[in-house]
Symmetry: C2
Subunit: 284 residues, 2 copies
């Protein structure tokens, strides 16, 4: 059951926000879907890109700030932007009040630890429950799905892609956390959600996934601003580039001179990512 | 004296937010300026478009939601987006707590009434103080300025343009309040800021300005969504179109099927307005 929170016309398509009762997350979850005009013009099923947002974001940030709908409307891409964590009065939050754990910081993993495990099942939520809901309710081609994200959501896109190559045919990221096991944001979150045994973190870490599972059969696109204040301490994209080179994973890592971590950076390069996904999703 | 609050790279240009002590508004005022890459490439002075936002907005809404920087960067347009009212602990607000008077609701007039007159001098602020500050601190061509706005800011753009044709060479608006003397938002604000004598409202009403002063020497572009919930009660663009026809003012009023009052509507058509201003500002 899908509840329509709002729909608005934009670039001749429809930007909707929807809510549903999530079985996996055991709470009401919201997500945003942009449907381009091609959906009504010819009743065909369209390629879809899942966008995973970063820390503190909801389903709103991407749809109001990235400007992705303009080109998606032209190319005929459906865009899906879920929330970044379970929400609601029963959902636990960081006891220290941080922005980097709990609400707005689900890290796209399936939590195994108390008190997180009951609600924080974001990996399966994105790849299974949300995906099935989208395929049942929107005119997407289930064979033509890509995944993309920013920061914590870039981590989500890389890890969910590398673990589920049968589900996604293209992957790209803006300023992703590529090695959560090695940086403060990631260590705090994985320790809380998955427990102190670092072996259990390996399948939630893009660098480890590359090393443990080998390359995917598609190239990966990453854009990273050089003036991003999180670059050296939290993001470390060179760790992913090195691991990729070792295992033979094609990666295009573009260091973007002067850009920061914000949606100004995302807006500047979102068209490149839309075209990247579209090219990979429409090819025979 | 200009204080830089923030600068961010976007679309190869610079999106800045600045603060200064306003003499006219007797408070600290903020405004946003986008400078495209052409400014540093050839040291020439560039055309500038002033954007006036609507009720409840600050200098932030336009620069984060409209997506105007993409085409402005390509065309070489400087964009200036001021706040919508004076701000600060000494600045009076609507005693009824409404969003349509006081903070965020300056209506781009010079208030004459107690307690508003001390700070609410938004008409002269936009056309004189801010303008001088921009011309002194940014590489704008003072002979090539346009004005544009949304809702209350569309009212601001139309009225300030019609009263100051020596200052602006192009004018456009999204869903403007065209006849504030005849609608609830406008009547509340003009009564408070200018007092109960409606004759004093005439120079703050675009329809009256057309009738009293005759046409400008440039066409005016207006976009209006048909699903805008404020269309019938607050905006009434046909009143402007009728007055324009009577006095011989060329107006292009485009009713946009299915669009609402939000930034989704603005984002969809902002490129048209950027091109419109650019065409009028660069012609010999």
């Amino acid at each position: 059951m899908l509840e329509t929170v709002s729909t608005t016309k934009i670039f001749n398509g429809t930007q909707g926000v929807y809510a549903h009762e999530s079985e996996l997350c055991q709470c009401t979850m919201r997500f945003a879907v942009f449907v381009p005009p091609q959906a009504s013009e010819n009743h065909r099923r369209l390629p879809v890109v899942y966008w995973l947002s970063g820390l503190t974001c909801t389903e709103e940030n991407f749809i109001t700030k990235a400007g992705a709908q303009r080109l998606a409307s032209e190319l005929g891409l459906i865009l899906v932007a879920p929330d970044t964590s379970p929400r609601g009065p029963d959902v636990p939050d960081d006891p220290e009040g941080g922005y980097d754990l709990g609400l707005g910081a689900g890290f796209y993993v399936n939590a195994t630890q108390v008190p997180w495990a009951v609600h924080y099942q974001m990996a399966d939520y994105i790849t299974q429950e949300l995906r099935a809901l989208i395929e049942a309710n929107f005119p997407v081609d289930p064979e033509a799905a890509g995944i993309c994200g920013h920061s914590m959501g870039g981590h989500g896109a890389l890890t969910l892609y590398l673990k589920n190559q049968n589900l996604y045919r293209s992957c790209s990221a803006f300023a992703p956390i590529v090695a959560p096991s090695q940086v403060p944001w990631g260590r705090k979150a994985l320790n809380a959600y998955l427990g102190p045994h670092e072996e259990s973190w390996r399948t939630a870490d893009a660098v480890h996934l590359l090393t443990d599972h080998g390359p995917s059969d598609q190239p990966i696109l990453i854009d990273q601003g050089t003036e991003d204040i999180f670059l050296d301490d939290q993001l470390k994209p060179h760790l992913f580039a090195s691991a990729a080179q070792e295992v033979g994973q094609p990666v295009t890592l573009r260091m973007r001179d002067g850009y920061d971590h914000s949606y100004n950076f995302i807006a500047t390069f979102i068209d490149d990512h839309m075209r990247w996904h579209h090219q990979h999703l429409i090819k025979e």
